[in-house]
Amino acid sequence: MPARPFRPTPLAALWVLCFLGSFLWSSSAVAQPPPMLSSGESGLTLTSLPPILEQADIRKQLDTGLTTTFLIKVTGRDPSGRSLQGGARVQIRYELWDEIYQLASQDLAGNIHRGNFSSFAALKEHWQELSLEVIPLAAGTPPAQQSRLKVELDVIPFSRSEEQDTRRWFSESTERSGRSNAENARKVSEERSETLGEVFNLLMATSIRRRAIMDFHWQVPISRNSTAGAKKGRKGDP
């Protein structure tokens, strides 16, 4: 019996495309192991954050002295189909004068944690031991086990206050240069050009925005962990 020649059906082609797409989509996650999501009585806790601080780009970013923000977003559905959303924020700033790393984290349960670390190794260790209650559950809600949630992590290179400060500085710098250029112009045209210049500076300055320089995402299964929340509130090195 002669072998049938292979003819790709539309369904097969769709499967291949889906596979390639999911492979490419998850390529960034391949480099980093996923964090862990465990359900406890109070909610879902994210632990074992991947060692992304070691990455060269992030290390370089940390050493600039700017406040690097790690935004964590968790989304998915519980077994009853209800939408789940949660997240946490971790900010790390390297104090260049004192040469210490300052870390501040806050989760959706309202837990705030601060710590100073004298070495990068200590920071890295603490990072991996962080425990963040990303989705606090109301009393009586069954833990969302046997399902996977999407965990996204965005690396934002500077804080909102630093953004505002740079915008202000940028506007003032360009206004000063505009004013000196207009010194020889007539008074009326000077006023007009100043007004237009202010509008221009405002439009330019507002384009300075916080945007993620890196992002990671994983599909993380929920596991039952009796020790969840035990590490919460651990302090860093003084």
């Binding site: 600039t64 002295g65 700017l66 260049l96 004068w97 290179p157 500077f158 630093e162 953004e163 400060d165 740079t166 500085w169 940028f170 221009f200 439009l203 330019m204 507002t206 384009s207 300075i208 925005r209 945007r211 320089i213």
Partner: protein, 405 residues
């Protein structure tokens, strides 16, 4: 509008080309500007400065606070430049967007202005064209309301000036014509009155010589009849003049025009020995007219035709009556085969005292009376220019009576 498209399209193409050039080169300019701020050497020197301040603080602990302040300042600057470097792409994109928006806005305003201007000039040209048409149609005292000082405004003012000049010339001409008409009327009146008066005076003088002589009784009676004839002649002149001045109002009734024309031809076929009357019947609705006045008009037209043909020394004259219906009136053409009307007189033929006859043979009031009659009927009397030789007079007769008589 079509003649405005080429420059408009050219302007748009030029503007788009300029936008393209700007788009190609402004990004480079924006990048250079940003690169100047975040130059690697600048950042390196600032980083070195940070290290220096820290070393100085160790070497000279007494001024540690000062070095710390300097350190903070340099660090802040370095961080701002780093943030700028992070936002470089966004800044460049915003810069591009602003430039394109400004340029696009300027282009839209320019195109809008050009379109508006083109439409405005198109309207002005249409107004000028319409004004020139009015001028060609003989309208005067035109007012275009153009105040601009451009070429179209100047042309508009020239049209207004021309129309004013035409009005002035027309008034002057009318005045001269009236004067001329009155002179002619006075001359004719004087002659028409003087001729019978002179005749009557001569007859009276002759009669005076016969009064005491029995044997001249017959001559006296003859002279008396002569006086009466001359006075009758004066009376008939006065009557004609009075009939023009006091033309009675028409007594409007429905008339079957075909029947009336047939009757007219039957009655008057022997009235003018040198004329043959012909009626071409048509199936027409009734008209509204004063039968006697309409007959007076027809008699007058036939009389004129007869005299004109007689002046040519011919006996084969013919007058044809043909009519047709047109909308709400009937057109009756009275056509003769005479010599026609002198072209120089055609425009004034219906004015009083305009005649080709010698003095003493008519006052030139006949056609003026005829036209007045038809105007009183709500119709008109015209001389059609197309037939030469011969003349065609067109009578316009309304189907319904005029609203005001």
């Amino acid at each position: 509008m079509s003649r405005w498209w080429p420059p408009l399209i050219l302007a748009v193409v030029l503007a788009l080309s300029a936008a393209l050039v700007l788009h190609l080169f402004h990004r480079q300019a924006a990048d250079s500007w940003l690169a100047f701020g975040s130059h690697p050497e600048t950042l390196e020197i600032l980083e070195q400065s940070l290290e220096d301040q820290k070393i100085l603080a160790v070497v000279d602990p007494e001024r540690r606070a000062e070095y710390r302040r300097r350190f903070d300042r340099v660090q802040t600057l370095l961080q701002r430049l780093t943030i700028l470097e992070h936002s470089r792409e966004q800044l460049a994109r915003r810069y591009e967007l602003i430039l394109l928006a400004v340029f696009g806005g300027a282009m839209l305003i320019t195109v809008g202005y050009m379109v508006r201007r083109a439409r405005n000039e198109e309207r002005r040209l249409e107004r000028l064209g319409s004004a020139l048409g009015d001028l060609a149609a003989g309208k005067t005292n035109l007012h275009l309301g153009e105040r601009s000082r451009d070429s179209l405004g100047r042309i508009a003012r020239m049209i207004e000036q021309t129309s004013r000049r035409m009005a002035r010339d027309r008034r002057r001409l009318r005045s001269l014509e009236n004067l001329s008409s009155w002179q002619e009327a006075a001359r004719r009146h004087a002659h028409e009155m003087k001729t019978p008066l002179t005749g009557a005076r001569l007859e009276l003088e002759r009669l005076n010589g016969f009064l005491d002589r029995e044997d001249k009784r017959d001559e006296a009676r003859q002279a008396a009849r002569g006086v009466i004839q001359e006075l009758d002649r004066l009376g008939s002149f006065t009557q004609e003049f009075t009939s023009f001045a006091r033309l009675p109002r028409p007594s409007i009734k429905k008339i079957d025009l075909d029947a009336m024309l047939a009757e007219f031809v039957g009655i008057f076929e022997a009235a003018w020995p040198n004329l043959q009357l012909e009626h071409q019947p048509a199936d027409l609705p009734s008209i509204t007219a004063d039968r006697d006045q309409l007959r007076q008009v027809l008699v007058n037209l036939c009389d004129n035709a007869s005299l004109a043909i007689e002046g040519d020394g011919r006996q084969d004259g013919k007058v044809t009556f043909s009519s047709r219906l047109e909308r709400d009136h009937v057109l009756l053409n009275v056509t003769d085969n005479g010599p026609g009307v002198d072209p120089t007189l055609q425009e004034r033929i219906f004015e009083p005292y305009v005649t080709t006859r010698v003095i003493g043979k008519g006052m030139g009031l006949g056609l003026a009376i005829c036209r007045k009659i038809l105007l009183d009927h709500g119709g008109d009397l015209e001389l059609l220019p197309e037939k030469q030789p011969g003349a065609v007079f067109r009578l316009t007769l309304p189907l319904r009576p005029p609203t005001t008589i």
